[in-house]
Symmetry: C2
Subunit: 307 residues, 2 copies
């Protein structure tokens, strides 16, 4: 048996969770596991924590390299990996991997650097999403606007495989905070998903500051214009709508016909509705397929580099 | 002694605190007390709670009426008083007071109704600020744009003593949430007040969704563009800046030279800085003086009504 039984281990190592894929030599997914050992849980013992994860991957060959992305490369992670400035080709990440010492593991272990975008007086950062965007490029989606919904929703513009710019919206985090505490949570009772309230929320986020549109969740309930059960859907619409109206402002008279979304169906669902309201089409890419494509890219790159 | 020793008790009865003023027959403030018996603490025993407050007011005559404003008139208050729709003269509040039954107190007790503003698909509400705005009108400030900073910052347009429109911004509540928990609080360490960071925050809120500008607090820190100690000032600037940029959009080519602020010096300070950055002047009205002016108006109105 001369050919390796596995080509690469890829790990999306986030703040609270992590997910690992074992890539077979033919590029398919040979094994996949996830757990709650995010960087908070693994702090101070990353090498041991990775060892435990690898031990649970069936069919892993002894010399298969490991590529990690996400918060594992942040100041709170295994090693703080400097950001790469946006503007260059996403495929350049292949030779920007940063090796970490893991003597007990006896294999090459590396972290994908996050990206930083600067423009005049603006700054933005990502860790993990660059790997997803690289995966989209590897799948042939080399141009266009991307939305990666989540706790910190990212919007990115990619041109000819280059990450031109990106912006982060605290959509998921604000929803989690505001739907569980404070004035807006108090205005919500016995929530029922309401597509109409979601749409009204998207509309309410147009042409006004988000801090004003958010309050209208409460104003509509106490003013008698919306049942308390619809407040959560309205709030969700306001937050996602703020992203789309912001993009519409950036796009001006030349909006893209199509926006690519990399997210689970449940996360992408709200964006699909918002896209339809904004008369745009949403092209949903499966985040697992995208990640596997990035791992295939890294696997071939590392094979060349180590050859 | 035929003339009453007191003209009116005015109470600003909020969610967590309340403040009471005893107005002398000559319109001056004869006594002033505050406590933490807001509507949450007083729930289910408002009459008794008011009795305890009145017993602590020195020189209160037995028949002096009581006028209450704020959340005491909300669904969680003593009695839910229907909103009055904006558009009419603020002085009409004088004959829109709603009497509450308080047999044990042996005096006239009334609540000032809150206001509701509707415009196309927008709705907003206030309870308490209408009394402040009435006070400003009573002091002769009958025209212009007002900002009333706080947990729920209000912006109001008053024309010839009429409340034309108003909008609420969740500035104080968002600051309290985001500076104590979540990603932005984690990016903040050993805060030092930084006027430069506040100004940068005001600028960062321009031309972008607030959920994006908020994240830039973190992006600047982890991207190496701002010390963690300045994150709180930057966050404050972003939130107040969002209000001002929103107003600038509403004002278009005809911004007012002057904006009236009704707020304590500490609350108005940030707005004074933001106003200067937006090349507007801020005219700060003392909230206590404004409230006393409203109480003098109510006192004369009730005297006429009861005559």
């Amino acid at each position: 048996m001369n050919s390796p039984a596995s080509a690469l281990v890829g790990i999306d190592w986030g703040t609270t969770n992590r997910r690992a894929w074992l890539l077979a030599p033919d590029g398919t997914c040979a094994a996949e596991i996830s757990d709650d050992q995010g960087v908070i849980a693994a702090r101070g013992r990353f090498e041991a924590s990775l060892g435990e994860l690898l031990a649970r991957l069936p069919g892993l060959a002894p010399d298969t390299p490991v590529v990690m992305s996400g918060m594992v490369g942040s100041a709170m992670g295994w090693r703080e990996v400097p950001y790469v400035d946006a503007g260059g080709p996403l495929e350049a990440l292949g030779h920007q991997l940063v090796t970490v010492d893991a003597p007990s593991l006896g294999r090459h272990c590396a972290i994908v650097p996050g990206c930083r975008w600067r423009s005049q007086d603006r700054v933005d950062v990502m860790r993990g999403e660059e790997t997803q965007l690289l995966g989209a490029v590897a799948l042939g989606v080399r141009d266009g606007w991307f939305v990666l919904p989540g706790t910190h929703s990212k919007w990115a513009e990619v041109r000819d495989g280059r990450l031109v710019s990106f912006q982060t919206f605290m959509t998921g985090e604000l929803y989690a905070l505001l739907s569980t505490q404070g004035t807006l949570a108090a205005a919500s009772r016995d929530p029922i998903a309401s597509p109409a309230a979601f749409e009204a929320g998207v509309a309410a986020a147009r042409d006004t500051a988000l801090s004003n549109a958010l309050f209208s969740t409460r104003a509509r309930v106490v003013g008698g214009d919306m049942p308390a059960a619809h407040a959560a859907s309205f709030l969700s619409g306001v937050l996602m709508g703020a992203e789309w109206h912001d993009r519409a402002r950036v796009w001006g008279d030349h909006p893209p016909e199509l926006v690519h979304a990399i997210g689970s169906p449940s996360l992408a669902e709200g964006h699909a509705t918002a896209a339809a309201l904004m008369r745009r089409r949403l092209h949903i890419l499966d985040p697992r397929e995208v990640h596997l494509a990035a791992l295939r890219f890294f696997a071939s790159h590392i094979r060349q580099a180590l050859a």
